[in-house]
Symmetry: C2
Subunit: 359 residues, 2 copies
């Protein structure tokens, strides 16, 4: 049955106020009035209400946006709403319990033995009190199912259901690249990007797209399977000439640092590989940029090291395969959250669901 209108409106305003403080940090009541377009008295009543329920507290300090003398700020109580975030990799699990406002309250990491069940390990790390639970993992993830993951070796695995069975609670499942894109947008310095493309280098190459703060529906972009050399090397996906196959990702991903070091010391083979890989990556990116039109690209995972040592070939191959109009507004750089992006983004995805549910 529909709620009475006044109750429904108050719920929506509560959600909007909490989301505002979660995203932007402590603020004065005047700033909140301005940001949310509500009356001063409405803000006052909501803040009192949410302080009574233990979600907000008043502190003294300076809000992010303002200079001048300290004033009374409204701030989140981190423990009042928490989200469990897990990042699953082939060889380890990382866990964070993140509180309202973005503070990481707990953090742990565990190695996964060869053949160990990731779901059982997740159950060992997480507890049931969080308002939402989100797991990030590399691959083509859509609606709770991993259709294909080069890195984890999973095909059509119903991960959300498996996680629920192992832990007794509901899980949201996202891909690592998209989670990292969300993380960089929400907590990194990519907030200005309208369309943010995050490239993730793991044992495979994927990309995630965030459009105006929201993850693109339907999961990650299979960057590693853009065909850059028709009829080229055989790829394990069954195609020929995929970026992953041409770059010999399997052979190089594990020791990119050694390769860049060797190239720096004059190793001809390492140099050649870096240059060719940069060109292939730039060419694959050209197609992705033409199809998706991002204004910012972040090179994450081990693609960070690759990009830092091959920016010139990447850029020139990209220039040869991207319309000048799409290229002119494009920024290329490395992520500020580094390896933490996917875990933070998974938590933010959870908070998004929490706020959506409140409305």
């Amino acid at each position: 049955m529909a709620l009475p209108p006044a109750v429904e409106l108050r719920r929506r305003n509560r959600a909007a106020l909490l989301e505002q403080l979660h995203r932007h940090g402590p603020q004065t009541r005047a700033e909140l009035t301005e940001a949310l377009g509500l009356n001063r008295s409405t803000i006052g009543a909501l803040a009192t209400d949410l302080a009574d329920s233990g979600h907000l507290q008043e502190t003294t300090g300076q809000s992010t946006g303002s200079a001048g003398r300290p004033s009374t700020l409204v701030a989140c109580v981190p423990q009042s709403i928490t989200v469990s975030a897990v990042e699953i990799r082939a060889d380890r699990l990382r866990f964070a319990l993140v509180g309202l406002g973005g503070e990481v309250l707990e953090r742990s990491e565990t190695a996964l033995e060869e053949g160990a069940d990731a779901m059982t390990a997740v159950a060992g790390l997480t507890r049931g009190t969080a308002a939402a639970a989100v797991a990030a993992m590399p691959g083509l993830v859509d609606e709770g199912t991993v259709a294909h993951s080069t890195e984890l070796g999973w095909v059509d695995r119903r991960v959300a259901a498996d996680l629920e069975a192992a832990t007794g609670r509901e899980w949201k499942v996202v891909d690592t690249a998209t989670a990292a894109a969300v993380g960089e947008w929400a907590r990194g310095d990519a907030r200005e990007a309208r369309k943010l493309l995050y490239l993730h280098g793991g044992r495979g190459l994927t990309a995630g797209l965030v459009i105006e703060g929201r993850a693109q529906r339907g999961g990650s972009i299979q960057l590693g399977h853009i065909v850059v050399e028709p009829g080229g090397r055989e790829c394990e996906c069954g195609l020929r000439g995929c970026l992953e196959a041409e770059m010999e990702v399997r052979a190089y991903a594990e020791d990119i640092e050694r390769t860049t070091l060797a190239a720096g010391m004059g190793d001809g083979a390492a140099r050649d590989w870096l240059r060719r890989s940069g060109e292939d990556l730039g060419r694959a990116l050209g197609a992705v940029v033409t199809a998706t039109g991002p204004d910012e690209i972040l090179f994450g995972g081990w693609l960070r090291e690759l990009y830092l040592s091959t920016a010139a070939p990447v850029r020139s191959a990209l220039a040869e395969t991207t319309l000048p109009h799409l290229r002119s507004k494009l920024r290329l750089r490395t992520p500020v959250l580094g390896d933490e992006g996917a875990l933070i983004g998974a938590a933010e995805t959870g908070f998004e669901a929490v706020f959506d549910r409140m409305r």
Copy 2:
């Protein structure tokens, strides 16, 4: 100032009811109660209200979904809310005035002389009574500006502002391919597609993406400028080996019917071109599919004829460049609205804005 909650809620329910009838056609009150999740008495009050304001009328007949004897249906009054839709092409303009519920109330078409100003011609076709006005045109369109249009020869033209100056009213501007995708989703038979990719063949090749009924932000995909032959033929965009250049789009777009006819009669050059073009198109599509993951692709404009005569090479080149997981759920076909798609989609884009404004 914020509206009182009850007023705001009533507005939102009015918008939801009108949108439901606009999209799905006449329905009984019981069906509306079910579809909108509102009380029967609320639906009754809303319907009476909207009948009084002239938006709805009661008729007798059968709703789309049901069999059995005719019953009393609630239906839109088409004239109560109208949208002006215009499609701008290089050589002509098409106009439709579309009423609430999707009925085309007026329709006209005018040739554009070489060098004529499209904006003045639009002003001559449209009148000021419509609730929204939307213009579709081929090219890379974003936030009221045409960044680049091969077909119209425009670069960074602020079309929304130009249209407003010529007609004295606000315009929304969309690209032809995206408009056609919206049209096929809303009024064609592509409603089941989660991600619908519409390919438009005009003097250039573009594509539009509709995700769960909403146009992808940031405008069309520049399909014609996916590089399919690195270092290949020079394209007028400045790159080399673009799909448009390799397919010699300029030379063939105008007489695709003659080319397919010639090929059918055994003309070797025409056959070769069709086969090569199909392969190039399939390869470019492989990259777009890998980047965007559609579940349905429609071949529109003159690509319709091309696809109908080269489906085999298109499909086999696509198979060589697309992950099996992405390919397995993909349907390829031709649009049911044919040439009307963009105009209908422009009108639907206008109605979407009208309903959003009502809330």
